[in-house]
Structures are given as structure tokens and as C-alpha cells.
Symmetry: none
Subunit: 388 residues, 2 copies
């Protein structure tokens, strides 16, 4: 069962609108077990749109169009589709025209209804462009229809395994055999700065069978990469840290320099973080490091603000100041300026102080200022996660 999505609107081709409908519809269709083979976007041009619709109905079983159904002169979808399928137009409710023989999809949040045309066993489904109209129309009318008609052909289930602390190429090497899995199980690898995701996808008759296939692949991946995995699907690293702190009933304080509050902000993105997060100090200046964090001037003089010694004093002292179980600190050079001899941009020290003492790790990150900040926050949160 092949589907394709055609988005209509010159504003998309001009880059004025980010097309989120393609992603949303693709996820929904995957969930029903319908594969999407093409996305395309066409401007408000009848000839190019008619071509796209004809091509779509030749190569796909389901063609979904989005946009161009409104009342303005730019909105050409209705007539173009009718023309491309050699159908007349009839007057529906509220003065809206729809092609002869089409089933109307009610639009409760906008003026233009959608419609479904069944043409020789192939479906053309026209939906409006605004997501807040399209989404409920798809959920209420289109999804049940597709499920009923094609639902017996199975489903596609996806699980994402999320890791940090190991690069894409190293992960790739560890799971090369899985990345080459033949259908119905496929595994894909996706990398962002300081984050690698493995997506396990299984096509199966039903949810249970798909889950069994996915669990088996997940177990293999976990056996090889377990210590780098911080979560699955929508689980975040800061959420994992929060769960670890809650479970071990420990509290946290953070002293930041180069991350400038990013670590504390991520920790406090988690609902309920006030149960374990006590205090954050962002000591950007040496003066603040001395006055607020009690770093000894001698340490700063001898080793510098970006040093193992300063990081450890920051972690120990923020722990003491907050009266928390754990003190975490980072100091480094986010760039673009600030590098000195022997201390390049991207040099970062992360220290952890707990009941058993204090330790510090050195990192060298690459990238622009915000990337170094983010990578540092990932490494610090992961160090915290592993220690819990």
C-alpha cells in the first residue's frame, strides 16, 4: 500500500511557511501501517498541480493533498483535482463546491471542507492546509476510513533508543549487522551533536508481534551499548537524571561557568524537579567564583579558571553552599574568543562532588559556541546519570 503527500501553496515554496503537515501525516500513516513513498510540494499553479496529481495516482494507491482549498484566488486545489479526474463539481453544504461522487470531510474549525474521491480503487484525499483544521479532520474521518480499508495489512511500530557519550561512527560499528537487518525489521541511525539515536522499526500483523520483534533488537543493542543509553522514545537525558535523583533520594546543586545556566535550565525543564534541584550558581567572572563559590584566589592564579582544580572546588563548594547531596560543576571555554596558550576553545572540565569525594573529567569539544554549550551540558548530565 503506497501513499504520497502533495502539499500545495506558493508560500511553502518561498520558504515562508515550515511544512509540518508532511511529517505529521507521515507519522500517522506509518502508525496505520501505510508506507509513504513521496512527499512533494507544488505552488499555486493548476498545470503543475494537475501533473502531480496524475503522476501520484499512477504510482501510488493513496494521494493526500494539503492546502489550496480556501476561498481565495490562490486556492486552486478543488478545480484542479476535479479537472485532473474529469469530474464535475456539485454544490455541497454552506455553498462549498466538491467534485461529483466525492465524500465530504467535515471541517469544524475552518470554512473549507475536505473530500475523498475513490477513483478505480485509488484514493485521493484533499485536506486543508492549516494544521489545526487538518489534524482533527484526519483523526476523525480519514484515519478510521484508512484503518478500516487497509488496517488488516498490519502496522508499523517504531522505538527510538537514545544515547550520548559515543560518536555516530562508533555506534555504527557496534550495530552494523542490525543496521543491515532485512524487513520486517529495520534499524536506522541518526546523529545530532552529542546525541545518537537508533530507530528500530518493525512491520507486523499486529502490535504484539511488532513489539516482540522490537524487544529482541532492543535487547541486542542494549547488550552492546547499554551504558550509553539514557532513554527510549520521548525520554530525555534530564528526565533520566531526575528519575535517578528521585530514586536515590538525593539532591543536587550545580555550579556553571561556560554553560551559563543551560544545565540548570535543562534540569528544571523536568516537571517536579524542585523535589531534587536545590541551587544553581552561574559564576561567569573570577570575582563571582571567589565570592559566591568560595574558589580560592590562589587556585585561580596558579591553575586558571578553566582547570581541573577550579572545577573541583566549584563542585565541592556549591554542594556545601546548597547543603545538597551532590555538587556538579563545569568550567570551560565556549568560544569563539577566550582561548589561551594550551587552553583551546572547547576545553571543558566537569567535576562531580558527592558523599564519597570529588572527581573531575576533561573534555575537548568542537563546534560553535552554542554547540560547545550543548555538548558540555550533555556530558555533565550524562556523568550525573551514570554516577546515580
Amino acid at each position: 500500500m503506497k501513499a504520497e503527500i502533495i502539499s500545495i501553496g506558493t508560500e511553502i515554496l518561498l520558504g515562508q511557511i515550515l511544512n509540518t503537515n508532511q511529517q505529521w501525516l507521515s507519522q500517522k500513516l506509518a502508525g496505520i501501517g501505510i508506507g509513504v513513498y513521496f512527499h512533494s510540494t507544488i505552488g499555486d499553479n493548476p498545470e503543475r498541480l494537475a501533473n502531480a496529481i496524475k503522476t501520484g495516482l499512477e504510482r501510488s494507491d493513496i494521494v493526500i493533498t494539503t492546502g489550496g482549498l480556501g476561498p481565495t484566488v490562490d486556492d486552486i486545489t478543488l478545480e484542479t483535482i476535479a479537472g485532473a479526474l474529469s469530474l464535475g463539481l456539485r454544490l455541497g453544504k454552506r455553498q462549498a463546491h466538491i467534485p461529483e461522487g466525492a465524500k465530504v470531510i467535515e471541517n469544524r474549525l475552518g470554512t473549507a471542507p475536505g473530500f475523498i474521491v475513490d477513483k478505480g480503487g485509488k484514493l485521493l484525499i484533499a485536506l486543508p492546509g492549516p494544521p489545526r483544521e487538518l489534524n482533527p479532520m484526519f483523526e476523525r474521518t480519514v484515519a478510521p476510513l484508512l484503518r478500516k480499508r487497509f488496517g488488516s495489512e498490519g502496522i508499523l511500530k517504531i522505538r527510538t533508543i537514545r544515547m550520548t557519550g559515543l560518536g555516530e561512527e562508533a555506534v555504527d560499528r557496534k550495530v552494523k549487522d542490525l543496521l543491515e537487518s532485512p524487513p520486517p525489521l529495520t534499524v536506522g541511525i541518526y546523529a545530532k551533536p552529542a546525541l545518537v539515536e537508533l530507530k528500530i522499526m518493525a512491520k507486523a500483523k499486529n502490535d504484539k508481534q511488532a513489539k516482540t520483534l522490537i524487544d529482541r533488537a532492543d535487547a541486542k543493542i542494549t547488550a552492546r551499548l547499554g551504558k550509553y543509553i539514557f532513554g527510549r522514545d520521548s525520554e530525555t537525558l534530564e528526565g533520566a537524571v531526575g528519575s535517578g535523583l528521585l530514586l536515590s533520594r538525593r539532591t543536587l546543586a550545580v555550579a556553571e561557568s561556560c554553560t551559563g545556566g543551560l544545565i540548570a535550565s535543562r534540569i528544571t525543564d523536568v516537571p517536579g524537579s524542585s523535589k531534587y534541584f536545590r541551587l544553581g550558581i552561574i559564576a561567569y567572572s573570577n570575582d563571582a567564583k571567589i565570592k559566591l563559590l568560595g574558589v580560592r584566589p590562589g587556585t585561580l592564579d596558579k591553575f586558571g579558571a578553566v582547570s581541573r582544580q577550579t572545577a573541583m572546588e566549584m563542585a565541592e563548594n556549591v554542594r556545601t553552599a546548597a547543603g545538597s547531596d551532590i555538587g556538579l560543576s563545569v568550567t570551560g571555554i565556549a568560544g569563539p574568543s577566550g582561548a589561551t596558550k594550551g587552553k583551546p576553545v572547547g576545553l571543558v572540565y566537569i567535576a562531580f562532588a558527592g558523599e564519597k569525594g570529588c572527581y573531575c573529567s576533561e573534555f575537548r569539544f568542537r563546534g560553535e559556541r552554542e554547540v560547545v554549550k550543548f555538548k558540555t551540558s550533555q556530558a555533565a548530565l550524562d556523568l550525573l546519570r551514570v554516577s546515580l
Copy 2:
């Protein structure tokens, strides 16, 4: 001059990735005066990709592909393009292959280079998928080449006016006449949480004529909405705050509660912020507010942590602790829990302490935890911007 963009990757068709490259490239091409006529997305399938490339080179003058250039087995772009154009592969720098006769586009932030093939006067431009690699490669290498080759056919110039502190509907009412401007000048409105953008677009023979048209509309918008405008195009609110602090030679310290470090993190996203940012204290617990920020226990008892009085003590005391010119504070309830009688989720106090004294504003924000955090940071930074 017709261009089209082909995105490559099964993960996009599965809805696992939001395709932002199409919008970004479309905006950039529009800025050079090159019209984009088609967007399409193809999975990691050599046959369908080869067809798309052949069709693209028949109907368009410029075909830009994104994605599929990496070293993994999914990455099929390189060989498929070479095959579709009947070109051999040659070994370039760093063991990377590129098609014979292609010009290499250096990738400083990733492993896979891009390339440009000139085939009978038509251009095929292959770029990697990750935006952080694609964007600088386009700006540095592709844009200058396209401008040189096609720049004489007229241009589309876009300026974005960025505002906060006023809702979309209120902005809409103030510039309704401009939103209905006929070509060659068009104005569009786009809204996100605590951010409204007006995009002014002008088509003209050259940059100067387009600039004149845009300047005229900008002046009208500024006359009506000036105090809400914090920047244009890529200017950020935190950047505007930074410029204001640098210009007035003032230093800043921040005391945060519900934003949990987000304000400090945004301020320190700006390169050079160490010149004016001294200290941030994230006092999540009452204990930290008392010990680190010197908030009086009596104030917390009588008025609560989320109160005008606590906010003002936080702002004044963080200013004193840091020895900075300005102290900024926020305290509020980000949710989902934490609401009490008379103090709902979204209630926020923002206080500003400077040489002339201290004042505080009350806000009531709607949305989920992260939205409330972001809206609070927008309001706090904007209060700072306006005060400078």
C-alpha cells in the same frame, strides 16, 4: 530560472525528522532571485531517487539534493547521482568519493563533502542533510556561485521584523493595511509563543530598489509598533540586551527561580557576554533564596516565594552580591504542579534593580512548563531591553 529541492531519506518519509532544509533553502534561493518550483522527498531507494533526479534535470535549471551523503549503508545519493548522470567516481580528499568532473563543496563540520555537477548548463548541487553542515556550505560556496551566475534576473528581498510583548491579533489589527499590500511588496505575519514576526518581501530589479520598498514598509511598521520590536532578521532578543548593556557599559546579574537558568543561558548564548554578565543564581528552594540571595525569611513567610516582595529582594540582593549595575530576577510557577489558592500556574513576577531603585511587574502566562519558562524569559529579557 527554475530550481527544485529533493530531500533524501526514508526517515523523513516516516515522519521521524521534520524537514527544515526545504524552507531554509527556499528562503535563501528566493533571496538570490531564484524561484523554487518543486520540493520533493524520496526515500533511500536508488531507483526512485534516480527517477527524481532525471525528472528534476528535465524540468528545472537547478536541482539541489539534501541528505544521503554520509558513510552509512543508507547513504545512496553519491552513487545514484553519478549513475543517473552516467559519471564515474573519483577519490577526493579524506577518502571521500565524488563524481568525475564535479566541484567539491568543502564540509568543515562533517565528514561528507558536497558537490556541484554542471550538466549541459544545468546544475545539480548535492548537500548533506544536517542543517548545521548544509547551512554554512550553502552560504560559503553555493550562494556566491548562484549569485554570480544568475544574479542579474532580479531579486526577492525579505526582511523579518521581530517583536515580543504584543499578541498576534493585536499586531494584525495594527498593520492590517500592510498585510493586504499588492505585489511587488507583500507582508506576512507569523506567530510563535511570545514572538510575532512580520515578514516584508519585495520583488525588484536589484537590491537597492528592493531595499527602498522594504525600508518604506519597515518605517510604517516601526511607527506603529516600534516599542515591541527587538530586532530584525537574525537578531535575537538576548543579542539586543547584550548590545544595550555593552553600549551603556553596564553589567548584569540574574536571580532565577521558575526559569531555572534559562535566562542566564540565553544571555550567555551571545558571544562576548562575559563582558557584561557577572553572575546568575538559580534559587529553586526557599533555603537557597535565604542563604544565597539573602531573601528575608519573614518575606517568604508573609508573602510567599512567588510574590512581588520576594522578586524585588532577589533582584536587589543579586545585584549587591555580584557588584553589578543591574540585578534582574524572576519568580513564578512554571507548572504543572505548584499552584496554590490565588497563585495559579503561570503567575510570574519579574523585578529589575538598578542605580535608580527597583521595580516589579506581574505576568500571567499560559501553556505547558517549557512554554511558561520561555515566555517568562522573553518577558524578562524584553523588560531589560526596554530599560536600557
